[in-house]
Symmetry: C2
Amino acid sequence: MTRVTADVTFLRDYNQALVMAVGRTVRSFERSTVVEATGLTPQAVSKVIARLTADGLIRPAGVRRPGIGKPAVVYELVPDSRYAIGAHVARRTLRLVLVDLAGTVHQSAVSPLPGDFTPKQLLDALTAGIGALTGIGELRGRLTGLGIGMIGPLDHAHGLVRDAHGLRHWHDVPLREVAEQHLGLPVHLDKDVTAGITAEAWRYGATFGDAALIMVESGIGAGFWLGGTAHRGAHTNAGEFGHTVVDLDGPRCVCGRHGCLEIVHHHAAEAGELARAARVVAVGVVNLLQTLDLAHVVLAGADLLRHPQAYLAAVGDAVQTDVPRADWLSTKVALSSLGADVIAAGAAMQVLDQHYGIPELAPI
Amino acid sequence: MTRVTADVTFLRDYNQALVMAVGRTVRSFERSTVVEATGLTPQAVSKVIARLTADGLIRPAGVRRPGIGKPAVVYELVPDSRYAIGAHVARRTLRLVLVDLAGTVHQSAVSPLPGDFTPKQLLDALTAGIGALTGIGELRGRLTGLGIGMIGPLDHAHGLVRDAHGLRHWHDVPLREVAEQHLGLPVHLDKDVTAGITAEAWRYGATFGDAALIMVESGIGAGFWLGGTAHRGAHTNAGEFGHTVVDLDGPRCVCGRHGCLEIVHHHAAEAGELARAARVVAVGVVNLLQTLDLAHVVLAGADLLRHPQAYLAAVGDAVQTDVPRADWLSTKVALSSLGADVIAAGAAMQVLDQHYGIPELAPI
DNA sequence: CCTATTACGCAACGCTGTTGCTAAATTTTT
DNA sequence: AAAAATTTAGCAACAGCGTTGCGTAATAGG
């Protein structure tokens, strides 16, 4: 939740979210854990824990007797106290997942979408797919909403699909509003890559630094996690990473420029030169590191995950070789920990994050 | 100021900073202006204004009689209530500026630095330069500190120069600490490009969106302003924009890779092909826009400012032509409004920002 | 002179996290 | 077996924040 001014309710929500972040990161925790992690006073932590317990979000889970003194009460998150549904809308498929408060994916289902599908067809597919999730009826009251990760361009703030690449029927569609009415659920709309990086950040926990998710799948995109939050850009259009020029004299791209990362990669992949294709992506990743100085790079996307080791090795090598070596300058490269579910799961986590994540203040 | 947990003092500082931001942006303001901009209640604004007035940071400046009713009291920032000194440390020169609370540059002085200067030599130059600023003695008590904008790599959080490019005597120098002792002033250390974009953001005001400052000057760097704050990256090393590959088969760069933006630009500039040099920078800028979706691009740096119109035209054209056209997707391209002072002035503003800027919370 | 309108602050309030202190549960020492 | 030490945890009072209710000051218009 974003607001401009800070009042005491912000204060409460913020500190409460800090405790929830601890609960999500570790399996179980006690009061002293939170005190250490947050710097809140023990008394304040007690109050927060009492509130969260009353809401059913956390629960006592035994005691710890470390030696002398009164044993400490151990608490744990109640994963099944809240759920969210995540949808990954691609050009031909709809993937739906059910995610709990701890970020665990409980169900995952893929269904085909009609070629060049319309908004109506997507809504129908969403309705059918959500209905098919087993036990969805029993989650009433615990279902916080639906997150949609979709190809752009779109307007995250207004829930508007501006002009989805390669889909004729998607110009200025107020998808969030329409879906909320159609499904009777709160809906959150974001670019696929941004949803993806949110999933990685949520699962990794609060120590997740600046990071990018590279998605190779009918195009190349990137999602960014900068300064503890998703970076969407001035018009929610950040991440068109495939359309950065890496070869001034390269082949002409659909975007009109020459030598875009995407077209160069595509040519190499088409020619069956997997190693060269992977190296091209690696060059792009190192460009990102030089520009943004990231702590994590996560690789994802259907086309990439068909040859995960080739890409992982190429990017890992390039990061080792091409970035100036220094022990203080390290970047972890990894494959998406959620595989093909990462976009849908991240979209679901964005919904949970709106309610139970760390709130933000928007400077004027 | 960064802290983890939110308490009531954070509330106060935050809302107070919002009012200061209004005061810095507009020439004069009244209570209703602030109410509208922030959403605070009139009563809350009255309290904040009373505190700021007592501290001498703002003052009444007449009344406004809009017609019927009691006239409103008009307030204004007191620019000379606080000052900061900014230093831009380049390879051969030291530039010092004196900046007031409103962000106005009052004095600017350039002095040469010895070739391959040592930390000691820089400290002496700083001492001499600061002493030479006229009227500096009368500012005691109103001087908030010294900001240093310097070539990297460096560690902003610890005030440590890791390994300044091309300077032999600068390995792991704790410049902030040393300078604080030597000068008896609080010192703030940051990369030159980050200081530069801070200057633009401060002057532009709170509505400044995601932005980058492109600096062409013995190398090409970029400073980023993302999500209402400076983006420094995981290791304060963001902005090595010159070392992004734009030509896979291009000439070998000092960094070891081939076809870096910097080396390609350098070759064109050396050959006297100004238009081509400018176009190369423009390609890089469009790459940034595709990746990060920026609202502003600011051009700066000694080498660029020797031919400002050529670069401005090339980048402006490329942004118009190469980024997918849409009325909602607009980026403003401009030359640095502070010219050669931008880095030093930005460094000074970072010091002021620490005290009177909008405080941040660091999620665990 | 009266009324409507606008600006603005005092006082009381609700809420936050903090502080001071007491109670409870356990181990260690006598 | 009893007393002391140690640690956890919460009740109660408190300070500080923005908010709300309401009274007062200052102006224009009738």
